[in-house]
């Protein structure tokens, strides 16, 4: 059973949920990063975030900032440094809206 809040989100906006959890064919850059040809937006976020944690890429002086290594840079627009708060937005860029 889903919690009521979730249920509401789904019934209110099935599309919004779909574009979060549907598998998407990935462009080559992401394919290299994840090692998969398909992933959902949620899965991709989880992958990037755990990559950051596993490789200790958060700036030791300011944990809100991530110092990208080469591999991470390839998926985050080539930026040397990103703020954690922009992470969802940056990842969303790889998942453009389906043309209607």
């Amino acid at each position: 059973m889903l919690p009521p809040v979730m249920k509401k989100t789904i019934t209110d906006n099935p599309k919004k949920l779909a574009n979060l959890i549907d598998l998407v064919n990935l462009p080559s850059t992401l394919r290299e990063f994840t090692g998969q040809s398909q992933i959902s937006r949620l899965g991709c976020f989880m992958r990037v975030w755990s990559y950051i944690k596993d490789n200790n890429l958060q700036d030791p002086n300011n944990k809100n900032v991530v110092n990208c290594d080469e591999k991470l840079r390839s998926v985050l627009l080539g930026k040397p440094q990103v703020e954690l708060s922009e992470l969802p937005t940056l990842i969303k860029l790889h998942f453009p809206k389906e043309p209607k």
């Binding site: 944990k63 809100n64 922009e86 969802p88 937005t89």
Partner: protein, 474 residues
Amino acid sequence: MGKIPPSLRSSVSTSIIKKPQSLIPNESPSHKPHHFPKKPARKIPPQLSEKTQEPTAFRNPFSSPNISDAKKVFTSIVAATKSPLDLRVHNALLQSYAAISTVNDSISLFNHMIKTHPAFSPDRSTYHVLLSQSCKAGDETLGSVHQVLNFMLTNGFSPDKVTTDIAVRSLCSAGNVDLAVELVKQMAMKNAAPDSYTYNFLVKCLCKSRSVSSVYEFIESMKSSLNLKPDLVTYTILIDNVTNRENLREATKLVEMLAEEGFKPDCYIYNTIMKGFCKLNLGKEAVDVFKKMKEEGVEPDLVTYNTLIFGLSKCGRIMEAKKYLGVMVEMGHFPDAVTYTSLMNGMCRKGDVLGAMELLEEMQAQGCQPNVCTYNTLLHGLCKSKLLEKGLELYGLMKECTMKLDTASYATLVRALCREGRVADAYEVFDYAVESKSVTDVAAYTTLEGTLKWLKKAREQVVPGEATRLHVGR
């Protein structure tokens, strides 16, 4: 469950003058916490004990649904045990095999058991194992159910009301309420009419999935064909059902009907009605129910007080709720975690989280342990009242005990952290929520994403001086 560390307690309530705590006697309550009257205990039928219990703690000895394998397994078990197997072991073995096989194979094993092991004399409960399996087979025509019933009959056991009860429960738990209704009608003709427990169970199942009018239809047809009339429990179920659908008019009608039928409402009925009012934030009406109970001489129980205090807290009438906490203690009831949490919830809603923390202290002084709900309520309250540091301390404690966060407290905590620019900490909370399975991954992520979006907007809008605070972080 961990206690609130003294540092967290004292620093919160230092500014508040301590109230005398003579309200509550200094004994630690030893009873289990009661919850809201969803399932009055009296509805549990005595028949249940006749059902063989599923051997969940043991590994299923039967690994393959193949009948010849199963026969071998049975033979080896018989050979391995020195003492003679009794009926319960046979029933348990049959049940284990039934869990993975078809009805026909189970019957074959049953016959094999009798043939190879003459000491085994099956009784009614053995057949009920087979019956329960056949009900879960999920065929549309009740064919395998009748097969087992006939099998029982040929072996000299005519079905009785226990048989009906087991069949109905198995069918309902497999989601076949319609078939259960059908079967009850057929069984009634075979001299195995349902008793009031089966009847009420079925009414309850119908309430969950059907419209109110179709439940009434069922009640009418039972009344006319089997002369089974609704009793007090049935009315409790019906009233609970309509109040859950927020249909108070129907509830009032049912209460009147109840009186016409000559029933005197008992504590459960009153509790259910009161719960209905509380659900709709009708504090005054809830108090009226309480007064009515007193007038009618029905003694309120712990659930009554908990419901009343919950309802009053919910609609913001904290002073009254506290008054009833006093009344409750006077009447010799021990307030439990539900009572205190309801009150804390009300106080937090009013913005008085410090008062709630103080109540926590009082609660623990009375020997009542806070539960997950209590902690979540307080965490939510602390974050809402911008007491983030205290909230984080509480969160740390919850994490130590691997307690789950609820949706509301998770969202407020993430938001409060982001507001302070502590995005990394918000990510940590996100990780914990996912790891502890407090909320689904999707819900956790949606909240985080939404909050970050809100943060971005807030940063764009605020004046430059303010902006530094949002940006600097830790």
